[in-house]
């Protein structure tokens, strides 16, 4: 197989034409292997690769979502510039595909296309924006990945999706979680205020007075800090992920907390990070790097886990050194003695690099913690008698640094070290000793010249750094004790003059000019003492991890301590928070529609009322009393719509009333239809749905009656109900302006369409806003997908200026949400319009008993069942609200149910009569499980999406 050759890295491109022919092969395995091959070599053999593209294009149209997805995947992996437009088109199409899996693949394809042709950026951003709005967990991770690769700077695209991403996070697959969390960390840094602003200085160890003052001043200016609820949301929703089995996810959450959480809350991540240390050594390595950085700023957090960082002799050296780093950072007055005891065991290790690092660590502990400085120093001095030269050398270097801090008290140590010059051969250590003696020669006046004498003897055999220090020592001694050392110095300088190394020659020349007084020597020699014996500041021993936290923790750049390509800076907190309202998601569909329709509904409602009473002249007062009476009753029916008895009672009453009104209203059926755009359609739906058979002859009046009831009800309870109001939504078919004064709106009245039960009834309202009359309104030239049918409304001969009229037409959508396109004609003009039904309108309520429901559900398992977890929106926690929202979204009826936590709904698709079963099972804490069983998977999937949206808002 060719694949084997690819795998071994051999060039199999000669075989390309032969292989490409196999693309159309039926056998899936061969096909897959050909794909692998194709993707590998397409770049080199562009022309031939193009031959295969039509196959994929065909695949993109396949009815099976998985085939569509894999076709897109392979197509987008072919790195041939010519097909960029084809890819762009395919991605755009897939981004609005019904299947979330195909949309996910589209998100994956975006970075591929971007790397192939960066020119497409703007178009791709549009696609990303669209996909970001997607509500499925499957897509979320992939699209954020695409966002990070293509346009990480467009933080504004996130605003609207921020809360959704936070809420979806826990259900996204692991890899997606990592990417989303990292992105949200950056986002939060730009949008929220620093939660630690009111806490005194962040930096525990390195704080100095000035900083404190500055902070205090800043503090005084600031208002008390209140955390943005969105900031809180992010912290709350990421916390459970600390328990993930995936180390990358845990690390991502840890860095998020480190960068974003208030100081008091950061502690939670320590435990999880310590847990990761049990993992593979590579994981340990990365985690320790990050812990090392964290311990510098937030030492307290890891202190309880001190012992977890103890070193085992079997740890790899790089791990040992990192653990040592962490231990050193954690050292403080209380635990230093335990740590030093640990260090003592480490010094005996066989691993010499590690021993050297331990000695350095002891040095750092000694500088940081004054109390133990002497203990450490003594310990280190003891090490000087160690048999291992490396250990001694390292000790010398560290002691030198320590002594620099307080040389006066330690002349005996210096003396001891002076003796070591006889034995130690490691150049760095020798150099250090010489430097020490030179620097503090006044403390050891007797020994210093002697050392110089010895060194002068061995000068030619020394290493360069040692030679330089000998020169230094000579110069310093010459300045302080010229009597004894004058000749020695001259000798050394002469030796150095002819050294092979030019640095040393230079230095010798320079020193000679400075210190040896000659006739010509200028003003400088006066200052020689100042030059050589100036007081030198003691070195600060600090962690190499200090200040690494300006890189986002957990990132590659942090690990390398250098910016990696494509790294996005972690921005500083803003001074003042940007407008938080940008994250407010526009209240979509149901709620927004509710809002607007409410306003609009009022007018027709009022009109209708007036209209009613005017036509109802005879019974005006009666209807008034009726209204107030039934107003409260209908409220009842809303809240307790489960209890059938009551409903039936109502039904009876209503029937009676209807009969009364019937007499006065037989002539105006169209105006009755209007009630649909008012409100509170729900009970009517159930009502008319159930008793369809017997009520068909008067169903058009029932809404009318309801109109009465609800007009008053609505006016009274308007304020209370605004939020929970459900409505039949009006859609615009033709805007007043494009229609040149003719405005057309439509809605799905949810009435059975009597001429043909397989059609969905669409109610259309024409309003003539012009000053002249419009004539002969009718439909022409419908363009329909195969199988779809239209039953046109009868032609409207005349629509006077300023009037409106309602008609009903039927459309058989064939159980698909594809639009019905047709032309709307007046006597002068034609308008192209289309009606696209929401999926919930493609069904009619079906009445089932609990047992029937269960039985039917049992038959619709597996592929026909789609289940989704969700968090109920704040306003739909109750049964009542759930019923209301579900029935508003879809034309379904309720099925009685024994369990309190479940709500069931049933319906049938209009065209084919397939059952649609919906179950909403509530769980504690606002969660719920939504299950849709439907033979038609597409309908099921879309319905799940719609209901999910309705319930989560």
């Amino acid at each position: 197989l060719h694949v084997i050759m690819i795998a071994r890295g051999k060039n199999a491109s000669d075989l390309f034409p032969a292989v490409v022919k196999n693309v159309a092969c039926k056998n899936i395995e061969v096909k897959k292997l050909v794909y692998v091959y194709l993707v590998r070599y397409a770049e080199e053999q562009q022309d031939l690769a193009l031959l295969s593209i039509s196959t994929f294009q065909r695949g993109l149209k396949d009815p099976n979502q998985l085939i569509r997805a894999s076709a897109l995947r392979v197509l987008s992996s072919i790195r041939v510039t010519i097909i960029v437009p084809i890819m762009m088109l395919a991605i755009k199409e897939a981004a609005s595909d019904m299947s979330p899996y195909v949309r996910k693949t589209a998100a994956h394809a975006i970075p591929k296309l971007y790397s192939l042709d960066p020119e497409q950026k703007d178009q791709l951003i549009e696609v990303i924006e669209k996909l970001l709005a997607d509500k499925t967990t499957l897509v979320a991770g992939s699209v954020v990945m695409a966002f990070e690769e293509v346009c990480p700077e467009r933080i504004d695209l996130i605003h609207k999706n921020y809360r959704k991403l936070c809420n979806l996070l826990i259900d996204v697959e692991e890899w997606g979680q990592v990417v989303i969390i990292n992105m949200l960390t950056r986002y939060a840094r730009t949008q929220f205020l620093n939660p630690n602003i009111n806490v005194s200085p962040l930096i525990e160890r390195y704080d100095d007075d000035e900083e404190k003052k500055a902070e205090a001043a800043a503090l005084a200016k600031r208002k008390p800090y209140v955390m943005d609820p969105d900031h809180r949301l992010l912290l709350r929703n990421t916390k459970p992920l600390l328990q993930s089995r995936n180390a990358a996810v845990v690390m991502a959450v840890a860095q998020l907390y480190f960068h974003l959480a208030p100081k008091a809350e950061v502690g939670v991540i320590a435990k999880a990070l310590v847990r990761l240390m049990r993992s593979h050594s590579e994981v340990q390595y990365v985690v320790l790097q990050n812990v090392a950085t964290m311990t510098i700023k937030r030492r307290g957090m890891f202190e309880p886990y001190l012992k977890s960082f103890y070193i085992r002799s079997t740890d790899p050296t790089q791990i040992k050194i990192l653990k040592l780093e962490v231990l050193t950072n954690l050292a403080n007055e209380t635990n230093i003695s335990t740590i030093l005891r640990e260090f003592q065991t480490y010094i005996k290790s066989m691993d010499k690099d590690f021993v050297a690092a331990t000695i350095q660590a002891i040095g750092r502990c000694a500088t940081n913690i004054g109390e133990v400085r002497d203990t450490c120093l003594n310990g280190l001095v003891q090490l000087l008698s160690n048999r291992d030269e490396l250990v001694v050398a390292e000790s010398v270097v560290v002691i030198k640094k320590l002594l620099q801090m307080q040389p006066e008290q330690h002349s005996d140590i210096i003396k001891h070290m002076a003796k070591l010059t006889d034995n130690i051969q490691v150049p760095m250590a020798r150099a250090s000793i010489l430097w020490l003696i030179g620097e503090y020669c006044e403390h050891v006046p007797k020994i210093a010249p002697d050392v110089l004498r010895k060194m002068a003897k061995s000068f030619t055999n020394e290493e360069d750094i040692v030679k330089l220090q000998i020169l230094n020592l000579a110069a310093k001694l010459y300045l302080t004790n010229s009597k004894q050392t004058k000749l020695l110095t001259q000798y050394v300088l002469n030796l150095a003059k002819y050294d092979q190394n030019y640095d040393i020659r230079d230095r010798a020349r320079f020193i000679r000019q400075l210190i040896v007084p000659t006739d010509k020597s200028g003003a400088l020699s006066k200052y020689a003492k100042k030059l050589f014996l100036a007081l030198k500041p003691a070195p600060v021993l600090e962690s190499p991890f200090k200040d690494r936290d300006h890189f986002q923790l957990g990132s590659l750049s942090h690990l390398l301590n250098a910016k990696a390509g494509g790294y996005q800076e972690l921005p500083d907190w803003p001074e003042s928070a940007p407008d938080p309202s940008v994250r407010n998601v526009e209240v979509k569909d149901s709620v927004r529609a509710g809002g607007t329709v409410t306003l609009r509904g009022r007018a027709p409602g009022g009109q209708a009322c007036g209209h009613c009473s005017s036509s109802d002249t005879g019974s005006g007062s009666e209807s008034g009393s009726e209204e107030s009476g039934s107003g409260s009753e209908s409220e009842e029916s809303e809240e307790e719509s489960e209890s059938e008895e009551e409903e039936e009672d109502e039904e009876d009453e209503r029937t009676k009333k209807k009969k009364k009104i019937e007499k006065s209203k037989p002539k105006k059926p169209e105006s009755a239809e209007r009630s649909d755009d008012t409100r509170q359609q729900l009970p009517v739906q159930q009502f008319s749905g159930r008793s369809r058979g017997s009520l068909t002859d008067r169903h058009c009046f029932s809404p009318h009656c309801k109109l009465h009831i609800y007009c008053s009800f609505f006016l009274i309870f308007f304020n209370l109900l605004v939020s929970s109001v459900n409505s039949v939504r009006m859609y615009e078919l033709l805007h007043r302006i494009t229609g040149e004064g003719l405005a057309v709106e439509y809605c799905f009245s949810r009435q059975p369409f009597s001429p043909d039960p397989h059609m969905v009834a669409v109610q259309i309202q024409f309003t003539n806003n012009t000053s002249s009359e419009t004539k002969s309104l009718h439909i022409e030239d419908p363009k329909l997908q195969s199988g779809m049918r239209i039953k046109e409304f009868p032609e409207i001969e005349l629509l006077p200026a300023g009037e409106s009229v309602n008609v009903v037409m039927g459309i058989d959508f064939c159980d698909s949400t594809q639009a019905a396109n047709f032309q709307l004609c007046t006597h002068t003009r034609k308008f192209f319009v289309s009606i696209q039904p929401p999926v919930g309108e493609l069904m009619v309520p079906a009445f089932l008993t609990e047992n029937e429901f269960k039985k039917e559900q049992g038959q619709l398992m597996g592929m026909n069942e789609i289940s989704e977890k969700l968090n109920l929106g704040e306003k739909c926690q109750s049964d009542h609200a759930i019923v209301e929202r579900v029935t508003a979204k879809a034309n379904l009826s309720r099925v009685p149910c024994g369990s309190e936590k479940e709500n069931r709904f049933a319906g049938k698709t209009v065209s084919s009569g397939s059952l649609v079963l919906v179950t909403v099972a509530r769980k504690e804490g606002g969660g719920a499980q939504l299950t849709v069983n439907c033979e038609k998977m597409v309908i099921g999937t879309m319905l799940v999406k719609d209901i999910l949206q309705a319930l989560t808002q």
Binding site: A7, V178, K271, E282, P304, S308, S313, E342, T345, Q568
Partner: protein, 418 residues
């Protein structure tokens, strides 16, 4: 993200390469070899290596280096975790993850890698989904395949990828429905010379083998969940239920998986099941040394300690060992300088002892440090922390499954300093 993957064996041969984006020359691995040479031991190769144009992130597993090539910023743990998943997937498919098995199953390996990453971003990493698409090889199947010419590739489409529980394949059917849980606890400890505990903690995992038909919904509860201090779960576990009720509620993946791993509350004192009396000394003169080790049971909760194994990394100067063991056998490898004493079952009455002399390289100074002892052991039917599973309930499905829980305690990183 992940650009390419190279698999390199211990002797430095690149035996597999796979590119998810454009092809990167294998010469990039030279930087890796350089680092490897510098590090000496494979354990010390830095996981992240910087090269002028790329970054190499590598892991070392089963004597194979998995070297991935990265071009832009990516969380290093993301890559490392993924590489480990790849290795685990190979293990899952072929029984072991070694150069030989990978070479034998090259086509499957290639298909797996192709499905696991798309454009360098992980796509399907759940073994249940992958197995649906690419059938693991079995002897029977490979025989049938050679005869009939059919393939390992499932003709079915990966419907699992569409489901909301991607870890479980659909339509599982078994005649015997069974669910087994292994509670495995490991003691990590450092004991000092005198036998006092410097540091000890218990880490545990629950590994499950669930073979149940349909879509069972399981609930596992503990007698004493308070013991568990820090936990991490398989994605199938419902975290909310754990937080509120301290029970594990989940729809399990099919087959073997790790349900949870946990850490036992550090406040509880850890019982150390064995004690070690040891005396290792090297003499200044005569280039020799003595070794005397006795192992005995300590807090074993009345159970027998089995599979006791003592491993000592000797200093470089130790040439050979001439020892006698009262129980078990010992081996000394003069190349790796590792002394292994396999004791087996620990006898209460007659404590096992290993005694004798060590010969050192003549002329070399005596070693500074005494080597520390690493102990391995196993205690069946005991979770040393005292954790107990209370019950396992199954919902949704009707049949009665066969259930079982097994407890094992092992030594994790158990080290005695000398």
């Amino acid at each position: 993200m992940i650009h390419s993957l190279f698999l390199i064996n211990n002797s430095g041969d690149i035996f597999l390469e796979k590119h998810w984006k454009s092809v990167i020359s294998r010469s990039v691995c030279d930087y890796f070899f350089e680092a490897q040479e510098k590090a000496g031991e494979p354990d010390n190769v830095p996981p992240v290596i910087r090269t002028p144009h790329h970054y190499l992130i590598n892991i070392y597993r089963e004597k194979i280096f998995f070297v991935s090539v990265i071009q832009t910023e990516v969380p290093p743990l993301f890559v490392i975790e993924f590489l480990h998943r790849v290795a685990e997937m190979f293990q899952d498919y072929f029984g072991e993850c070694s150069e030989v098995t990978i070479k034998d199953n090259l086509v499957i390996v290639y298909e797996l890698l192709e499905e696991m990453l798309d454009n360098g971003f992980p796509l399907a990493t759940e073994s249940n989904i992958l197995k649906e698409m690419i059938k693991p090889p079995t002897i029977l199947r490979s025989m049938v395949n050679t005869i009939t010419g059919s393939s390992n590739l499932g003709a079915t489409l990966p419907t699992g990828q569409l489901s909301t529980i991607p870890w479980r394949r659909a339509d599982v059917k078994y005649t015997n429905n069974e669910a087994y849980f292994d509670v495995v606890e490991e003691i990590d400890a450092i004991l000092d010379k005198s036998g006092t505990t410097v540091f000890a903690e218990i880490q545990g995992v629950i590994d499950a083998c669930v073979k149940l038909s349909g879509m069972p919904d399981l609930t596992l509860s503990f007698m004493n969940p308070r013991l568990l201090d820090d936990v991490s779960f398989h994605p199938c576990v419902r975290f909310k239920r754990w937080e509120s009720e301290r029970v594990l509620s989940f729809i399990p993946p099919d087959g073997n998986f790790r349900l949870m791993s946990y850490h036992v509350n550090a406040q509880n004192l850890v019982a150390i099941p064995v004690y070690v009396k040891q005396n290792i000394s090297f003499f200044e003169s005569g280039s020799s040394g003595r070794l005397d080790i006795t192992v005995g049971p300590k807090q074993t909760m009345g159970k027998t300690v089995e599979c006791v194994l003592v491993t000592i990394h000797m200093p470089k100067v130790v040439l050979s060992a001439n020892l006698t063991a009262t129980q078990g056998t010992y081996t000394y490898d003069p190349v790796t300088k590792i002394l292994v004493w396999d004791i087996g079952k620990l006898n209460q009455q007659k404590l096992p002892n290993l005694k004798g002399s060590l010969s050192l390289q003549s002329g070399a100074p005596k070693p500074e440090e005494n080597p520390s002892l690493n102990i391995d052991l196993k205690i069946q039917q005991l979770a040393i922390s005292g954790l107990k599973v209370n019950r396992l309930d199954m919902y949704v499905e009707k049949y009665k499954p066969f259930k079982g829980v097994k407890y094992v305690t092992k030594a994790g990183k158990f080290q005695v300093r000398t």
